[in-house]
């Protein structure tokens, strides 16, 4: 057993965790429906009757769908598994906590990116988008999906076995992140303070690159936005691992 690359084995275990998460937590009709409907509602609430062209709405649809699908379920997995004591079973297996969490992150990532791509596939034929921009669009969706999923896991770090506490915390953090971002009002129309605050939300950068890839208009450069998203990802990932590790012993 030990002759095999232990790292490779950890990744195989990670994939087992991901499959478990997807079949238990994601592929449920309520989750699927919520993942699609909630961003739809938010979107309609803001744009109904505002008479904007489809191409300027698309980045918003994409970022909302991606954000909700990749960061909504992740936060409840750890508190739920703490309560059901399945976490203890996992922790007694030869897999480190980091790889368990990576499995959870991967599940949110795959679910979010999957649904978002399905939505986007329908829209892309209506757009005139070159190959280079299509690649940027895909890259942004992948990186952002991973970033949002890491945020979801970070939010599940407090040592509680009550998923509804975490849901509350999660909404308290995630909804403001939407509202302070440049999603609903383009950055150049925000007051100076608004623009400053908008920089604190990863969604700002996602929507900015999406705008760039779809109609080559943006407030930051794509390179800067991608860098910012990358930094957010690393920070969420790092903090998530640290806090989870610190709180693990309080869960049993």
């Amino acid at each position: 057993m030990e002759k095999k690359n232990p790292f490779l084995r950890q990744f195989k275990s990670t994939w087992a965790i991901t499959k478990k998460d997807i079949s238990i937590y994601y592929l449920k009709p309520p989750v699927l429906i919520y993942g699609l409907i909630f961003p739809g509602f938010l979107f309609l609430a803001f744009f109904l009757g505002k008479n904007m062209p489809f191409s300027s709405l698309l980045p918003v649809v994409i970022v909302l769908a991606l954000f909700f699908t990749s960061s909504s379920v992740g936060p409840i997995i750890t508190p739920w598994e703490t309560r059901m004591h399945t976490l203890e079973r996992l922790v007694s297996c030869p897999i480190s906590l980091e790889f368990i969490l990576l499995g959870d992150i991967l599940a949110g990532f795959l679910f979010g990116v999957g649904i978002t791509l399905i939505l986007s596939v329908f829209a892309i034929p209506f757009l005139e988008i070159g190959l280079k921009n299509l690649i940027i669009l895909l890259g942004t969706i992948l990186l952002s999906g991973f970033c949002f999923s890491c945020l979801g896991i970070l939010l599940s770090a407090p040592a509680t076995d009550n998923p509804s506490n975490i849901m509350m915390l999660s909404n308290l953090v995630r909804l403001p992140l939407i509202f302070i971002s440049g999603i609903f009002i383009p950055l150049n129309k925000l007051p100076a303070l608004g623009r400053l605050i908008a920089r604190l939300s990863p969604l700002t950068y996602t929507v900015d690159i999406l705008r760039y890839s779809l109609y080559e208009k943006c407030d930051y450069s794509p390179v800067l936005s991608l860098t910012a998203l990358f930094i957010f990802t690393i920070v969420f990932l790092f903090l998530g691992m640290v806090f989870h590790k610190r709180n693990l012993s309080k869960r049993f």
Binding site: M1, E2, K4, P6, R9, K12, S13, W15, A16, I17, K19, K20, S23, I24, M84, H85, T86, E88, R89, L90, V91, S92, C93, P94, I95, S249, F252
Partner: protein
């Protein structure tokens, strides 16, 4: 000597309690080692430390020669664990639960399928393998947990109260299986608060309470201690005034008054009941109630610790193995 478990000065402190207090013990390969104690004694905490789920505040444990703190994966790869509570995924089928755990232990797909089929058959669960375990009874869940613990052919199996709260049939099957796997060479660490269970299965038993090990001994030797701790609770009408009459009855070791009842300690409950019937007839008393009580673990613990006052806590008293 070939050791499966060696614990040295294990201690786990929580904010308000010391759950495990500087305990030492050794488990030999091939043994069934009982860890017997009342609720809150520190059994689960000890098992969690030994299985690498939590880290000890101080002390060391080596599992099959691997330090659980530093060589955690090597140790974990070789042990099977049945934790205290039903820790299966109730939203997955029995089969998916087994596949998941098998993957986490790095068992190849072929072996996973073979071993799962074999184990589910042994535990009479094969026909139900594709059902979500949500609908399983407590006994079925526990049996599935055992299958999950065995899927990677561990050399050492940790069981935390595996029959607690189960029906008689499931309990018996699980005990038979524990004995069977032990015969096939698996070392067993069995946590329990059930004296009969420990007696029936174990080669040696550690008695633990308040995080301290009172003694480690063979069931035979411990039984001598337990036997004098059996008791009969009796109430008469009209109530008798003086305990002294009861003390004179043969087979009574000690009398304790509890409300209108008397608790009579004895090592022979059967004979004592006959004596009590005689006693009541002679004096024209009605027996209002009569209960036989097994030895109370707390009391056993107190008694043992009193007897071995000279011994420092947590040190082994004897190391003889009875087979």
């Amino acid at each position: 000597m070939d050791l499966a478990i060696e614990a040295k000065g294990l201690t786990k402190k929580y904010a308000n309690v010391t759950a495990v207090n500087n305990i030492d013990f050794q488990v030999k390969k091939g043994e069934i080692f009982g860890f017997l104690g009342p609720n809150g004694a520190g059994k689960t905490t000890t098992q969690r430390i030994l299985t690498g789920v939590i880290t000890a505040t101080s002390g060391k444990a080596s599992i099959l020669g691997y330090d659980i703190g530093r060589e955690t994966f090597r140790a974990k790869n070789r042990i099977g664990v049945v934790p205290e509570l039903a820790n299966i995924y109730i939203d997955l089928s029995a089969w998916s639960n087994l596949m998941l755990i098998g993957q986490l232990y790095g068992v190849s797909e072929e072996d996973r399928i073979k071993k799962s089929t074999e184990l589910l058959r042994i535990f009479n669960l094969y026909e139900r393998k594709d059902e979500k375990t949500k609908v399983f009874s407590k006994g079925m869940k526990q049996k599935l947990l055992l299958c999950m613990a065995l899927i990677h052919n561990p050399q050492l199996l940790f069981l935390d109260e595996p029959t607690s709260g189960l029906d008689v049939v499931s309990s018996r099957l699980i005990r038979e299986m524990i004995a069977k796997f032990n015969q096939e060479g698996v070392t067993i660490f069995l946590t329990t608060h059930n004296i009969q269970e420990a007696d029936e299965l174990c080669d040696r038993i550690a008695v633990i309470d308040h995080g301290l090990i009172a003694t480690i001994d063979s069931p035979e030797n411990l039984k001598k201690e337990f036997q004098s701790m059996q008791a009969i609770e009796v109430a008469f009408n009209p109530p008798i005034k003086s305990e002294d009459d009861l003390k004179k009855i043969e087979y009574v070791n000690k009398v304790q008054k509890i409300g209108d009842k008397f608790k009579l300690y004895t090592d022979n409950p059967d004979e004592l009941i006959r004596q009590l019937l005689n006693f009541s007839q002679k004096r024209n008393l009605n027996i209002l109630s009569l209960n036989t009580l097994g030895p109370d673990l707390e009391e056993v613990f107190v008694k043992i610790t009193e007897e071995h006052k000279g011994w420092s806590y947590g040190k082994e008293k004897s190391f003889s193995k009875t087979v």
